[in-house]
Amino acid sequence: MVLSCLLLISVAAGADTLSVSPDSRFSSIQDAVNHARSGDVIFVQHATYHEGNILIDKKLNLTGIEYPEIYPGDTAEGFVVIADSVVIRGFQISDVARSYLKDRAGIRINDCRHCLIENNRLIRTFFGIYLKNARGCIIRDNEIEGVPGDEASTGNAIHLWYSKDITVERNTARGHRDGIYLEFVENSHVENNFSENNIRYGLHFMFSNNDDYRYNTFRKNGAGVAVMYSRNIIMENNVFEQNRGSSSYGLLLKDILDGQIRFNHFIENTIGIYADGSNRILYEFNEFRENGWALKILGSCSDNTITQNNFTGNTFDVMTNSKTSMNTFTGNYWSHYSGYDLDRDGVGDVPYRPVRLFSYIVGNVPSSILLLRSFFVELLNYAEQITPAVTPAFLEDRSPRMKIIKP
């Protein structure tokens, strides 16, 4: 039924339809592509195809029926697209060999516009989907699963390089170096993706400006998301959870400007957000729950506003390495706050200082973490709270909320 509908549509558009299967006229996909004219539709029937470097040099719609399996072999990539408006849908591409010289990918898009990569499965491909100098492409509903090795010998699931106006949505990326990697990518959207067990980052921005990511989930990656050397990144409604380890973060911010971090959930990470050299960022309505350190904000960060966030049950709320603070903390809810609210306006009457002395000690002498929550340490913390000597006295929330904030 679906097939006949598609046929009708393509016929109506004046395009031909070609079918590929082992026992028909076209037994290889490349053969069909070579014989097709621009605008044609190629249906690939379910079978196993041992062919690689399938070059698509004209506007075609390639649709796999019940996930035909493509094995490119030891030295080849899967599809290589060099034409505009190509659609690749419903394929399964397996076992693209790793290489230390060449970034081989399951599906590669080179210098084209308006492609649609949809509903594919990429299994044990070195790089999954690789876009180079692409514009206006959509990558959605793909499942990409790799075998994690070390950082040098594993590729990225979705790799975007020097591209613009790309939409990446509803993909699943597992077991790669980075789940989704963007380098020199502008005006792009990353939405509703699921990134898990990647050895480096779930999502990684490098030198990419004016992008946004929303409603994604990043779980158990080396670090959830890394945003580096980028401007104007909007981060909303994402979930960062269980990114745990000695250098693990929910979100790593490195030298970025003018971002917005809103409505996100940081749950059970070793460090919720690690911010280094990040300026003019708005942190609003986020939830930080049961992280080791909710927010580690280094002295190189300034003019950030942290407001209306919920900090609940974190071992340490805020950690910094500087004695001064050039960031504004105001109107957050802190579960460790023990002040009072005499005038009953929902705002605590004494300021809250989220930096603990003990987090400094742990920073200098890591094995002292064994003394976490001991009475002696609590006494030290308490004394430091009253008269700050080591912790920054001005890093304080002057209007801490008494109740959890409902965004």
Partner: protein, 260 residues
């Protein structure tokens, strides 16, 4: 021994101190659950209180009970009963009645409020277990001290000192050591020092439940193995058992040799 245990247990469970102890935990737990907006915070405060109060009550009640029933003990000694049976029976009677007060005082409010997701049944069971262990350990220690010292004032003094040392001073010295010898690899030493203090052990069992995200941030391989799996909890529990066994064994030896 069972007879003496039964007698001590029922004698103590009817006393007003057990009731007060029970009511204390009942009030604290109810209060914390009622007042704090999230249950993990309530649980955190409760575990802090348990780590401070159970050793203290164990110590004080142990010494108090021993000195109060000294004459009765001497009467028992005149009868043809084994000395070990008398002292172990009395010790178990005391520590079990204290444990019961603690368990009832903490469990009833939680049954009322339900097991919140912040803790989980496994974590809650571990929490109860550490509370009971601490009671057993500290009543054994204070029994031992009282057995050694016939002078009541001196006995109480030593008991309080031991409690103060283990609950606060020990950690201070620990921290100073770690900071002072910062340049040396201290992982194993730090773990070994922890084994020397039952309160630290119990605290680590509880932090492994609540702060695992922060603990996993530490880079050392020894800790990583310790924190990363169930082995941390198993080792700590075994060490706690050892902490019960040693004072009880000493009670046996001293009671056998002592000239009453």
């Amino acid at each position: 021994m069972i007879k003496i245990l039964k007698y001590s247990f029922f004698d103590l469970i009817r006393s007003k101190w057990s009731l007060i102890y029970f009511l204390f935990y009942l009030a604290v737990t109810f209060g914390l659950l009622y007042m704090s907006s999230d249950s993990s915070k309530a649980f955190l405060s409760l575990s802090n209180i348990v780590l401070l109060i159970t050793p203290l009550t164990g110590t004080l009640f142990g010494a108090l009970y021993y000195y109060n029933s000294k004459e009765f003990n001497e009467l028992l000694l005149a009868l043809p009963i084994r000395r070990s049976a008398i002292f172990i029976g009395r010790y178990l009677g005391l520590s079990l009645s204290l444990s019961l007060s603690f368990l009832a005082g903490v469990c009833i409010p939680f049954l009322f409020y339900g097991f919140q997701k912040a803790i989980g049944p496994g974590g809650f069971a571990l929490f109860l277990m550490t509370g009971v262990m601490l009671t057993l350990i500290f009543s054994a220690i204070s029994f031992l001290i009282a057995l050694k010292n016939d002078n009541t004032i001196k006995g109480f003094g030593i008991c309080l000192l031991v409690w103060l040392f283990l609950s606060i001073l020990f950690d201070g010295i620990f921290l100073i050591l770690l900071v002072y010898f910062e340049r040396y690899p201290l992982d194993k030493l730090a773990l070994a020092l922890t084994l020397l203090n039952p309160i630290d052990l119990s605290r680590i069992i509880m932090t492994l439940q609540m702060d695992i995200s922060a603990l996993l941030g530490y880079t050392g391989a020894v800790f990583r193995r310790f924190f990363g799996s169930a082995s941390g909890i198993i080792y700590a529990s075994l060490a706690l058992m050892f902490w019960i066994a040693v004072p009880v064994w000493l009670i046996l030896i001293i009671s056998r040799r002592k000239d009453f």
